[in-house]
């Protein structure tokens, strides 16, 4: 009767499509990805269909998002990063909508699986390294030599810098995945407490079950803030990694 709080992360295949030995079935994760795509596309296209010079509220919101990402890129990456703006805008919108969609009760959080976040973060890491290598050639490896370091410490410093550069791919993924998964697991555990207390019955059950319920309410508010924050942090860290690759130091 009492199930594990990790059951909410189970990937369930809704429409099975086995193709050539691989499982391309439409899972609940895929359906929520489609919903995310639909929300972003519908939202933006319906606003941008009738733009006015003096923006209405929805257009002002979209212009705010545009300016937000534009400022992030200008401050953290300079002029060279301008041409990657569409990518970061899409990245931010995707993560924001995915995280917030997971806050809807009984829905599925797409980014709470390491498969999805690690794919995204590994792709970004490989892309940024490739951009750095093709822009600077062999000079790219001076990124790992911090300026102004005493020559005696250089071997250790370069190894540490290399390891920390490699860990970026993993840390970017684990940050988002762990935040989403732990937040939802905590909410599920708290809600389970409230349910178990309520099942005791009587006045003790009624009064006792409101305390975890209030906690669930407050933590849900915190989780919505964390959903937006994690999307912002993923985006700004990707912009900073691109800055490291484009403008070495």
């Amino acid at each position: 009767m009492i199930s594990s709080p990790l059951e909410q992360f189970e990937i369930v295949s809704i429409i099975p499509l086995p193709l050539g030995g691989y499982d391309f079935s439409i899972t609940n994760s895929a359906i929520y990805l489609f919903i995310t795509f639909g929300i972003i596309t519908f939202f933006m296209s319906s606003i941008l269909n009738k733009t006015m010079f003096v923006p209405g509220p929805w257009q002002a919101l979209l212009e705010d998002m545009y300016n937000f990402i534009m400022e992030l890129i200008e401050q953290n990456c300079g002029a060279k990063g301008q041409k990657y703006f569409p990518f970061f805008f899409v990245l931010f919108s995707f993560l924001l909508v995915c995280n917030l969609l997971g806050m809807v009760p009984y829905s599925f959080t797409v980014t709470s699986h390491i498969a999805i976040t690690f794919t995204l973060s590994l792709a970004i890491w490989i892309g940024v390294t490739w951009i750095g290598l093709t822009t600077h050639g062999a000079h790219f490896f001076t990124l790992f030599v911090p300026s102004g370091a005493p020559a005696a410490l250089l071997p250790i410093l370069v190894v540490i810098e290399l390891i920390s550069y490699g860990v970026r791919a993993i840390s970017l993924a684990v940050r988002l995945f762990a935040n989403m998964m732990s937040g939802h697991t905590l909410l599920k555990i708290m809600a389970g407490f409230s349910f178990q207390l309520f099942a005791l019955g009587g006045i003790l059950g009624l009064v006792g079950s409101t305390i975890p319920f209030i906690l669930v309410f407050l933590i849900t508010g915190l989780e919505i803030g964390i959903a937006c924050l994690q999307a912002y942090v993923f985006t700004i860290l990707s912009i900073m990694y691109l800055n490291d690759a484009l403008n070495l130091h």
């Binding site: 594990s4 990790l6 840390s171 684990v174 940050r175 762990a178 935040n179 998964m181 732990s182 697991t185 924050l229 994690q230 912002y232 942090v233 700004i236 860290l237």
Partner: protein, 74 residues
């Protein structure tokens, strides 16, 4: 010792790492308060840096929490 009890003990021990996150996040926001008192140019850069620092610090703590979950449910 049984595997289930070993898992519970391991998960409890792994959560001790979260003490560092509590201290770290406190330090980040303490320096926000101090620097805002020195120079109230907030919402320009200070709060953005604070959010970034908070997220980076919390990521390390979540590594410890992930180890606890892995031990408990893996």
């Amino acid at each position: 010792m049984e595997l289930a009890s070993a898992k519970l003990i391991g998960a409890g021990l792994a959560s001790i790492g979260l003490a560092g996150v509590g201290a770290g996040v406190g330090i980040v926001f303490a320096s926000l308060v101090t620097s805002y008192a020195r120079n109230p140019s907030l919402k320009q850069q200070l709060f953005a840096y604070t959010l970034l620092g908070f997220a980076l610090t919390e990521a390390i703590g979540l590594f410890a929490l992930m180890m606890a979950f892995l031990i408990l449910y893996g």
